[in-house]
Symmetry: C2
Subunit: 430 residues, 2 copies
Amino acid sequence: MLQLTTEHAGVDTSAVDERLVAYTERLRQVRRSGAYDAYESSIGMPDDAVMLNQVQDIVAQKVTGALKYSIVVGIGGSNLGTKAVYDALFGGRDILEPTRFPKVLFAETTDPEWLTAIGRLLETISTPEEVLVTVISKSGGTTETLANFEIIMRVLRDTFGSVTERVVAITDEGSKLWNAAGAQHIARLPIPAPVGGRYSVLSAVGLLPLSSVGIDIVQLRRGASDILDRILGDDNIAMQSAGVLALSRERGCVMNDNFFFHPELESVGKWYRQLMGESIGKEQSLEGKMVHAGITPTVSLGSTDLHSVGQLYLGGPHDKLTTFVSSRKVAAVTVPTERVFPELVPMVTDTSAETIMAAILEGVQIAYRKAGLPYMEVVLDAIDEYSLGSYLQFKMVEMMYLGQLLDVNSFDQPNVESYKVETKRILEKG
Amino acid sequence: MLQLTTEHAGVDTSAVDERLVAYTERLRQVRRSGAYDAYESSIGMPDDAVMLNQVQDIVAQKVTGALKYSIVVGIGGSNLGTKAVYDALFGGRDILEPTRFPKVLFAETTDPEWLTAIGRLLETISTPEEVLVTVISKSGGTTETLANFEIIMRVLRDTFGSVTERVVAITDEGSKLWNAAGAQHIARLPIPAPVGGRYSVLSAVGLLPLSSVGIDIVQLRRGASDILDRILGDDNIAMQSAGVLALSRERGCVMNDNFFFHPELESVGKWYRQLMGESIGKEQSLEGKMVHAGITPTVSLGSTDLHSVGQLYLGGPHDKLTTFVSSRKVAAVTVPTERVFPELVPMVTDTSAETIMAAILEGVQIAYRKAGLPYMEVVLDAIDEYSLGSYLQFKMVEMMYLGQLLDVNSFDQPNVESYKVETKRILEKG
């Protein structure tokens, strides 16, 4: 699972905690009910046995040992959670592991070069069973997703004829995509109506593609369920973390830098960028007052970014609250005794990569404290399905609390319509 | 080359321009002299014929058609520029192109999983000529870089015996690494003394690895040289852009979001994060006053991040100046006439991916204007060596001007020592 430490955040959340007691009771009720009838209903998903069975049935029907490429066609909430888990476990190293299969490939924005390359790659497969295409759109009408889907399906059709049996559509029950897929007997999985994209990683949206490549979704769900027990029991780290974020915002921390000390967690950071950005970046308060609320989430990677934005963080404006994220990994690689340049940085000889990284993280935290820079720390027990599930669920509940504290709706995203309307007008004009 | 538009930035830079006339004259002199004796000397590199010849000689000696993996061992300024150019041209798609060679592989932080995977990959090569290891450290004593280098060299030694002829060291002339490499007759290339990591992409630091995989470094340098002619001639877009950043900072834009509308430019954004973060994120002013200056650079990708942080940008706090970056690409991929779901988003049928992306970018800019969000726009003529060289050089000079405007030293990074001291102490204690 994971540990949260807030002692170096420089704020006292005890007063904040009081305000959220009633909301915690609400979350307990929503979870107990298991129904999908409230904004917060996503917290029922880790215990939803029907949802798991539906996903496992489709995987059993569609996935064999022949699968090489599980293609996720989706953008934003439709792929960021899947990418977070996949990259944490495999994807950051896909370039180094060209012969490891199955891989997840992501088609998100409509980039011509990417689509051309994915098309060429698909021309190399020999049977339809080597590919699974999961098209994901909550509304069923996401422009980039539908465009990419058609472009990819044309490549497959040119080679194999109709391959709609290699497609799974994940969308709201009753959406246009739901109905269109049904009319062609394409496999479908629903997204529970009140579960928005950024809270959907533990629905079929994440479970199906992750499971298709052998990631243990039972453990992923278990990690989430267990941390919910803890949060809604007697160790509410989500409330605590939200309190630190809200109070730090009042003190001028307009950014929350999520500083991951394992590069494979970068996509976890990008998932959190959406979660925080969309949930609390709001023009209006719950009462409809213009507030322009928000904290800007950023993602940094240790130790890489110490050699990049480290100078800014240590010397620049005090406008950030940092959340360090690391895990207790087992050391696997050591600097050898026999070296090419034994005289250079001699202290690393016979030292594991893990020890070096731990020393850098500790050195940075000491430097932050000396410079008066506030931070929280999250330590994952491991980078595995269980700990990742607990982290994702922890952060989703944190964001529900943070919305309460900042007096905004954590579940809508009204302003993105503004550019979609203009884009649609431009495309329709042709 | 590229175009800059600042009309929607909402600031008037004409007063700012006056203050920088003398500095422009200084830059002209530094460039004309071609010597490496000033902070700004990096601007002489695109016209340095000796530097180009040294790189080309090493490439001619070390690179044959057998090369598969050109490994860059370096962190921060030692690899971000190379990664920017490589990913823009190839790297974003390496996962989709497993049989395209040669590839650049980057070893930056000391991550055990990454090092294990790179080790396994190297065990698959059959001759030393398939690999080139470039170890890059300006100081010659970067912990992560030396540790990674030794770990990678052990893998090669275990298979092939000593392969120091497959190594190139790039470092300051006279550094410990320079001397140690010389003692073992390992090929070396110097980094001009006053050129810091974040200004070094057009030195051997970037030129050697990029050239090793066939990227046209002559065109890269030409793009840089040509835009210097323009900037130091009668179209000073670097001064203009720096003026917009400085004035926007005064108006509360504490972040500069670099919003790239081609996902392959993400690493260009990460290069810029270091350039801006380290150059102007400063505790002290030029006169030694405590100022905690800085603008936090962020990187967003269109259209992906519209489905992520778009809500925050459009509805949240007005604390960002956005720089949109796109290019005039030729359309290559089109949504087919024959579709699986013709009834879904029918307006994209027969529409190219490029047209969809252009409509989204235009829609976003209209939405930004309506919301009163300030932005600049950079349009590259193409995503090729020439335009990338001009973009990188433009931004490096922008940062020199911005340091002048914010009254900080754009060339040092004093605060990063604070954590390095602590880390060294921890590692030496063991």
